[in-house]
Structure formats: structure tokens, C-alpha cells
Symmetry: C2
Subunit: 256 residues, 2 copies
């Protein structure tokens, strides 16, 4: 299905599920919406930490229609999460009722875009095979702070068959707006991860440690996490896995 048709179905609340696997080859994005008073610090934070926070678009205060999609940011994602004072408040299907004219929305690259390219490159994705949400972990990799925003990087982990690690690296590094190349390959403890079977977000995935290597990519949960620690009075994000589908094809995506 084309993005506009898919988003219309989402807007009409006929589709309220994950966008994973929808509109292949089109860029999907994470969303973070904050009052303008926090927008400068958060923009600076993203610029200083481009691996976990690759900016696809920064919208103006009050703007509801992005450039990357003929969409209304208040209705065209399947699910949103509202946080108040840094705490989860509620999950909703649209944010029309809580919208404020001073809201600034950041659209941030997500890894869905390169996962399809990995698959097409012959790289198995165990979490997809096992129908799990990709496992994500807090790390000890420090971020460069900006204003009130600081913290450590959150990473997603995909176990890659040993002989395909180089290939996975080569494919993912082309997708700069989707976190690019891995931030770590191998021993999880080196980046402060104690137990791969207990992810901080998402679900644990099974793999044979003799035949596959854990590979860690910077994750779009990072900016959410940093923003929550900063405890803004209100912040809205997409619900995990429920992204904005844009009208833009990833230029690195190979349709052939």
C-alpha cells in the first residue's frame, strides 16, 4: 500500500497496529513533540548526538503538516504516548485534543528503514523470525549533553551470523538517517550491558552465541529517554513500533 493510503487508514483508526513492515522502502520516523521552551535544547541535543538522534525533519512551533509526508502529525501515527513531568501518562490513538500551538515536533530516523535492506542483503533478523520486538538496552555510552538533555545511549541489538557481520555493517552504514553503522560489535559488557536476555525495552531474542555475534546500533529510544529524564511538563512520542510513514523513499533503498 502507498503511504498516503496507509496513513488515511491510520487516521480513520482502521489501522491502530505497528507500522513495522508497512510501505516497504519508505522512510519511517520516530516522533518527539515538546513545548517550544524545550525545543532549542532538544534540537542541539540531536545535532550533538546524530547517531542515536538522526534528524529527518524539525517542524516549526505549532506546525502540524511535515514536509516529508502529506500528513497531519496529530492523527496519522497509529498510537501516541503522552508523558507528563517525565512520567508516562497515557497511550492514545490521536493527539488532537492535547495539541498546543507551541508544540515543536522532531522526526527522527528509525531502524525499520535499514532492516528491510539487511533482509534483502541476505541477513536473517532473528527478532522478526521469532516475532519479537527488537531488544533494546541502556548502555554506559555517554551522550553529549545539551541544556537540560543528557544521559547514556540506548541501543538495539541484532544477533548476526558471524560470517555476515561485515555485510551487515556495510549495508547499515549507508543509512545515515536510520542510525547508520553499529556503535558496538561483540561483548555486551564493554558497553555496560549485563544480560542480553533481559532487555530494558523490547523482547529477548534467542540465538546461538557460537554462531552469531551481537551487533548494537544506536536506537531511537535514546532521545525519548533523555527527554523523559529532563522531565518536561508535557512530551508526546509515537508508541514504540507505531511510527510515521513518510512519502519519501530511502535513496539508499534498493528496489531491484
Amino acid at each position: 500500500m502507498k503511504p498516503l493510503k496507509e496513513r488515511t487508514s491510520i487516521r480513520n483508526e482502521e489501522n491502530t497496529g505497528t507500522t513495522s513492515g508497512l510501505c516497504e522502502g519508505y522512510i519511517q520516523t520516530n516522533m518527539v513533540t515538546l513545548p517550544k521552551a524545550y525545543a532549542f535544547d532538544f534540537l542541539l541535543f540531536c545535532m550533538r548526538n546524530p547517531k542515536p538522534c538522526p534528524l529527518v525533519e524539525v517542524m516549526e512551533a505549532g506546525q502540524t503538516e511535515p514536509k516529508v509526508a502529506e500528513a497531519d502529525i496529530r492523527t496519522d501515527l497509529p498510537r501516541y504516548r503522552i508523558y507528563r513531568d517525565g512520567k508516562f501518562s497515557e497511550e492514545v490513538l490521536n493527539i488532537s485534543d492535547v495539541w498546543q500551538d507551541d508544540f515543536v515536533t522532531f522526526l527522527i530516523g528509525c531502524s525499520f528503514t535499514f532492516e528491510k535492506a539487511l533482509l534483502d542483503g541476505g541477513i536473517p533478523l532473528f527478532h522478526q523470525q521469532q516475532k519479537k520486538v527488537v531488544p533494546m538496552f541502556d548502555t554506559t555510552i555517554p551522550l553529549e549533553p545539551a541544556g537540560i538533555f543528557k544521559g547514556n545511549m540506548v541501543v538495539s541489538m541484532r544477533a548476526i551470523p558471524n560470517d555476515l557481520v561485515d555485510q551487515a555493517l556495510a549495508i547499515s552504514e549507508r543509512f545515515e538517517q536510520s542510525h547508520g553503522s553499529p556503535v558496538h560489535i561483540g561483548d555486551p559488557e564493554e558497553i555496560g550491558i549485563k544480560d542480553l536476555e533481559n532487555p530494558d525495552y523490547g523482547e529477548a531474542v534467542e540465538f546461538d552465541a557460537a554462531e552469531a555475534t551481537p551487533v548494537f546500533w544506536a536506537c531511537g529510544v535514546t532521545p525519548q529517554n533523555a527527554a523523559l529524564q529532563a522531565k518536561p511538563p508535557i512530551m508526546i512520542t509515537h508508541a514504540p513500533g507505531h511510527m510515521l510513514i513518510t512519502d519519501q523513499m530511502d535513496p539508499n533503498y534498493d528496489n531491484g
Copy 2:
């Protein structure tokens, strides 16, 4: 002289003149300082218009020491201009007295960095030979607006001997943080410039129109100009030609 020594002399007001030609090979920057309330819009404006507004560094609210130089932004430029409500108010040797804790400073690339590379590449710079400030012009090239900031691009003009235009292009395009490749080559009227002998800023430069071609680069006056049109209650910039000398060598600069 090394940058730190030069800046100390500037801080002590022993040197209050132009930084043109000082500390060759080190990056110099334009400076724009605004209250934080305007910082998000201005940062977005720079991101959307990277040719005229190449960001070298964005400092945090109240921060006085940048990362690119062991400097105090309030004292280590030779001259500053203070604008109030979009109008020039005064030129001063330091801004310690007017500094506010909510000031955000933007350091923006300047063309001094690539002019030396042009000279080293065998390209004569007529404005330097004639001891003139490079001529700058308002154009009809529209900028992408952001919040309250909008306007047209300001360009600097260097007439280049016809057989050296390609060479000038090849050299300047390596200096992305100093406006990069030209935005226009040839007929000034195509970008709305009526009379090369009446620049809007700087001074007219003489050249033989049969032997040299006018080449136009995006200019660091652009963001100042856009900011002035937005009429913030207070804004501070370097005085033209009186830049911040950083401690960073331009990686593209050839010392050999």
C-alpha cells in the same frame, strides 16, 4: 602568531583591528548572539540554509567559552556590534557589560578560511590587491524561512580570471564550513544584482569584465541580515571583518 596569543592581545584591546590575514590556516568564524527565546528559530534557520549559515558551533544558553577556541566570547573578538529591535545601536570592543545569562551564541563559518586557499591555488583576489573589503550584495535568492527568520541570501563577489574559474570552484567546494562552492557564476542580474559597482556591503572592486568572471559565494552577512529583519530586542554580532579566531586548523587547509 598562534590563535591564543592573538586572542589575548585582542582581549587586552592591544589589537582592535580586522582579523583578516591573522593566524593563517586557522578557522575564523562569524558570531551571532541572541536571547534564548529566539535560539530555536535561528538554529532551525541555519540548519535549513547551510550554504550562507554553516554552523561551526552552537553554544548553550549563558555559555561564554566555546569548544572551538580557548576563548571568552565576550572579550576575544576585536569588535562587536549591538543591535536593538533590529536597529544598529553601537560598536564596542567587548560585550561583558551587556552579557545576559540567556544569551545563545552561534559561530558561523566565514570566507577568510578559503580565501587563503584560493591565493595558494594561484588565484588572485582583486579586493585584497586593491585593499578593499570584499563587495557583498543583496540578492533575489530566497532562503528557507524558519519561525521569525526569513529573507534573501546575501552573497560576496570575487571576480576570477576566466581561465581560473573552475579552479576556484574546485578549491572552495572543499570548504563546506566556509560557504563551500559558489551559488552563482556570471551574470549578476540573474540573482537580482543590478550594479556590481554599488555593493550593499563592503566596497566596489575594479576588474576587466572581458578577462574576469564575477563569482558569487553565499555570505555570512545573510544570517545577520535575517536576524535583523526579525527585530529581536537585542542581538550582538562581530563587527564585519572582526572575527573569532579559533584554535582549529581547517582540515582542508594545505600547509605544504
